[in-house]
């Protein structure tokens, strides 16, 4: 299909190689299974493929067609058109890792700017060129902390309100390391004091989410202090949009900041590809995994960028490397770079506040529906826990025929939270959608 040779080409080439037919090139392969019948269909023309894929896609119901209050780690935000118009430049998307900096300054400068923007947003010193997603960034934070203490400290304190998928990923990643992972079994509603009590001198890392999985905003100053008192590292997982208004985690003296970058101009796309943000303090830069672009000059005196500190990486250090990451989320990091550049300081701040106001409006309105309740005591950002009069799954089932995705059923991860729905509201949620939800809930009252 995409192979260009004519018959004459093929013959001329075989002659140069000195074999008779292309099949002869495979003679070193055990002949038993050679040229198997795969039982796959014939290829389709582009026109047929598009029509097939359009059909498949039309079977799905999208977040545009539905009224969606789903968040829980992936958010429906507006993406300015300029983002995709840059991503579609094939100089970016059909290049690979910038191994040859002389012909990859576009990619390298974009990475450098990405590092700069994420560092500025989080308040950290350095940021790597990305991890696969929020979950793997968190796992790499644990991995980094573990190696930081030369594998001697075995305790990892994780907040129960760190995204359940992230915690699960930590377990998978660290399975072979014999760690003691604690904190997850605390009451979902526990305070930071309870986490503080778990920190000891065997603790490598204390990690929380900000805003947390329930959307809540806590002050982690004391927690950071407590971790540092035990010389443990302190890590904070962030929602980058929230940092448009909230104090950066550097103010809690975080050693590592991770984040899910999807809200920064990346489509929901059924869960991926997303973007793992990872930043740390300068002192830990050599412990950090992932690629890094650094500023330098070329032979002509021009400012330019190269991948630097490669000696940390697997292709040099091999089994001594802390992480195996190679291909990362380059293009998605570029999306977030363009997105942050377009919004800029004021845009991101306005956006964060808009999310905040909409979520609070929704929470207040929901609290007025008989049987429903939102705890407004603890500050929250664009997501909150809705206590329902019946099991959350029932509410969701009831809402679906109205084309409403009510939220995330928390009992899936927190067995005690049977009646709790995690509701997300962003700038993409119209007031009328919120009002529609309220209307339906009132109509379908359980009282």
């Amino acid at each position: 299909m995409y192979t260009p040779h004519t018959k004459a080409d093929r013959e001329a080439m075989l002659k140069v190689i000195g074999v008779e037919k292309v099949e002869d090139l495979f003679e070193c392969i055990p002949s038993s299974g050679l040229f198997p019948d795969l039982g796959l269909p014939e290829g389709l023309s582009e026109m047929e493929v598009l029509s097939e894929l359009s059909f498949i896609s039309s079977v799905n119901e999208t977040t545009q067609e539905l009224t969606s209050f789903l968040g829980a780690g992936a958010y429906n935000h507006f993406i300015p058109a300029a983002v995709d118009s840059i991503l579609r430049r094939s100089e970016f998307y059909t290049a690979y890792t910038p191994y040859q900096p002389e012909i990859a300054q576009g990619t390298l400068q974009a990475i450098f700017e990405y590092q700069s923007l994420i560092a500025a947003l989080t308040g950290m010193d350095v940021c790597n060129a990305s991890h696969y997603d929020g979950a793997t960034a968190v796992a790499e934070a644990v991995n980094m902390a573990y190696h930081r203490f030369r594998e001697r400290r075995k305790r990892i304190v994780l907040s129960p309100r760190l995204h359940p998928h992230y915690r699960a990923t930590v377990h998978t990643y660290m399975e072979g390391m014999d760690l003691e992972i604690v904190g997850e079994d605390l009451e979902p509603d526990c305070g930071t004091e309870e986490l503080i009590q778990l920190i000891d001198d065997n603790t490598a890392l204390v990690m929380v989410q900000y805003p947390d999985f329930f959307g809540r905003i806590y002050d982690f100053t004391e927690l950071g202090k407590a971790a540092h008192e035990h010389k443990a590292l302190f890590a904070v997982h962030i929602n980058p949009i929230a940092l448009g208004m909230l104090k950066p985690p550097s103010e809690f003296d975080a050693d590592i900041v991770t984040g899910e970058g999807q809200p920064l101009g990346v489509p929901l796309s059924f869960g991926g590809p997303y973007l793992g943000l990872f930043a740390t303090k300068k002192e830990y830069v050599r412990k950090m995994a992932g690629r890094l672009a650094g500023e330098t000059v070329d032979t002509r005196g021009q400012r330019g960028y190269v991948l630097t500190l490669n000696t940390r990486e697997q292709h040099i250090r091999r089994e001594q490397a802390t992480s195996n990451i190679c291909t990362n989320q380059g293009l998605i990091a570029l999306a977030s770079t363009v997105y942050l550049s377009l919004l800029g300081k004021n845009g991101l701040q306005d956006l964060a506040e808009l999310n905040y106001h909409k979520a609070h409006y929704a929470a207040e309105q929901l609290s007025t529906v008989p049987g429903y309740h939102v705890n407004m005591e603890v500050p929250f950002f664009n997501e909150f826990v809705l206590h329902c009069p019946v099991p959350a799954a029932e509410v969701n089932d009831m809402l679906l025929p109205y084309d409403i995705l009510g939220g995330y059923d928390l009992s899936k991860d927190y067995p005690s939270m049977t009646h709790e729905l995690l509701v997300a509201v962003t700038e993409a949620t119209d007031r009328s959608e919120i009002d529609y939800l309220i209307e339906v809930l009132e109509e379908e009252s359980y009282e």
Binding site: S54, Y99, P273, G344, H357
Partner: protein, 489 residues
């Protein structure tokens, strides 16, 4: 040529994209939690677009020209893939939507699993891993879990040939295994004698790349697999080089038990300047229970009138999650589009043409560049970029000089077992004319290496940038734009 950074283009109060004023009453902001400064740039949309458009032109890319970066399979990325992945019915799905609302997406994932099974001969596929290395970690964790499930806790030794990609040893180490390096024999195959001596009761498995990183089909693959299996170990296949084998032979039939696919190599999803990739993992029957969660399965069979119902399931003895949600769906859509476009014969044609192109190029240059393991190659080959009679010149200099001719250089200094390696992978989407021009260029550069070595040492001459000072970068360690104190206040 060089371009200011986005921070340098900033001016306070300038605005790019704006948002509407709230259509709801405003709530009090949470005092004590608000940040004092937000040091982000302030740039107009016009200037942002220009900035990124301009720097993009500094890049070489597949859409600009030949990109024979060995081991990376820089084939043409069909434009239709970019369209299908952007269909709203795919791009606007939340990963946690009820399954009944995403049957199209789940069906597509299921079908992709089936295609990859047919191609590899393996029995089950997980689409979760985000890239090749991620697939490796997943696979090694599966091997570990398998042994532990049988009480074989002592099986912690993972054999990795010296020709392997750096991710292989790193992945073994990350999973808590002990890595033992295996030498290659004089034909570039895994050394069977060395392998035998490691086949004991601590053996967890062998990680093998086939075709290997020399671009050679490992002639010992079946024997090696037999030995490992006999010793109670499992064989992990690094599928980075699957492009050579599509429809030619099925790795499972050579004895591979676990393997990752690189959708961003073999299945034409774009490399994105470094990613995202996608690294599905396939396994033989007995390893199915250990696959990461969740996987897509048919949860209710269909019949003539109703389609089957697809849903997520958790394998019984799963190693767990390796990331949030369920894989790089956007990449899966692109790869599925590609597979549908090619079909069975098209896939086979890919492999045959990729191997034809590599052998043709090898034949054209082998008298000029030493090929340490000279055999018919598969989809790529490794030459040495150095000559005794050009002592100053190194492979890196050859690469930099290649840039002057409008090509991307081959992979340098990998595999480690070849000194001054130039690893050349043309891929199947290149024309004979391009291969001819590239061979001529290599031959001319070999001549220049003797006659005008400074042409190579000072190259590139025609690129937007000259060689960059890597030592300075590592020394100064400037990893972000340094902002003035009051920026963003």
């Amino acid at each position: 040529m060089s371009e200011p950074t986005i921070f340098e283009l900033s001016k306070p109060q300038r605005k790019g994209v704006r948002f509407p004023r709230p259509d709801v009453p405003e709530s009090a902001l949470p005092e004590g939690f608000l940040r004092a400064e937000l040091p982000l740039p302030e740039v107009s949309e016009n200037e942002v677009v220009r900035h990124f458009t301009r720097i993009s032109q500094f890049n070489h890319a597949v859409d600009i020209g030949f990109y024979p970066l060995g081991s990376c399979t820089m084939k043409y990325n069909p434009k239709i893939n970019e369209e299908t992945a952007r269909l709203p019915g795919f791009s606007q799905l939340h990963p946690l939507q009820p399954e009944v609302t995403v049957q199209g997406a789940l069906g597509l994932m299921y079908e992709t699993q089936k295609w990859l099974e047919a191609i590899s001969g393996l029995d089950a596929i997980s689409l979760q891993p985000a890239a090749g290395a991620h697939g490796e970690l997943t696979g090694v964790l599966i091997i570990r879990a398998y042994h532990r499930s049988r009480g074989d806790n002592q099986r912690v030794k993972m054999l990795v040939p010296d020709s392997a990609h750096g991710t292989n040893p790193a992945s073994s180490a990350m999973s808590g295994m002990e890595m033992v390096e295996l030498p290659s024999d004089e034909r570039g195959n895994v050394d069977l004698e060395a392998l035998k001596t490691e086949c004991d009761e601590t053996l967890a498995g062998l990680m093998i790349t086939n075709p290997n990183t020399l671009g050679l089909f490992d002639e010992n693959i079946e024997e090696a697999s037999r030995l490992v299996h006999e010793a109670g170990g499992l064989v992990y296949g690094d599928g980075a080089n699957l492009n050579a084998l599509l429809g030619i032979c099925r790795p499972a039939e050579n004895g591979i038990d676990v393997m990752h696919f690189n959708l961003h190599k073999t299945f034409s999803t774009p490399h994105g300047g470094g990613g995202p990739g996608s690294g599905p993992v396939g396994v033989v029957e007995k390893l199915k229970p250990f696959l990461p969660a969740p996987m897509v399965a048919i949860t209710k069979e269909g019949d003539q009138d109703t389609p089957p119902l697809y849903g997520f399931v958790t394998p019984e003895q799963t190693i767990g999650r390796v990331k949030a949600f369920h894989g790089h769906f956007g990449m899966v859509v692109r790869a599925f589009t590609y597979m549908l476009s090619l079909g069975e014969n098209g896939l086979r044609d890919v492999a045959m043409t990729a191997v034809l192109n590599a052998n043709y190029l090898q034949a054209l240059v082998k008298d000029t560049y030493h090929i340490p393991y000279e055999r018919l190659c598969m989809h790529e080959f490794v030459a040495e970029g150095a000559w005794d009679d050009a002592p100053e010149v190194r492979a890196l200099d050859v690469s930099k000089r290649i840039i002057d001719f409008g090509f991307h250089p081959p992979t340098n200094y990998f595999p480690l077992i070849v000194p001054e390696a130039l690893m050349i992978e043309p891929t199947e989407t290149e024309t004979k004319e391009t291969l001819d021009r590239f061979a001529e260029t290599l031959i001319q550069i070999a001549k220049e290496a003797r006659e005008q070595p400074e042409l190579l040492k000072e190259a590139p001459h025609e690129a937007p940038f000259g060689r960059l000072d890597e030592v300075k970068a590592a020394k100064d360690l400037i990893l972000k734009t340094e902002l003035p104190e009051d920026y963003g206040k």
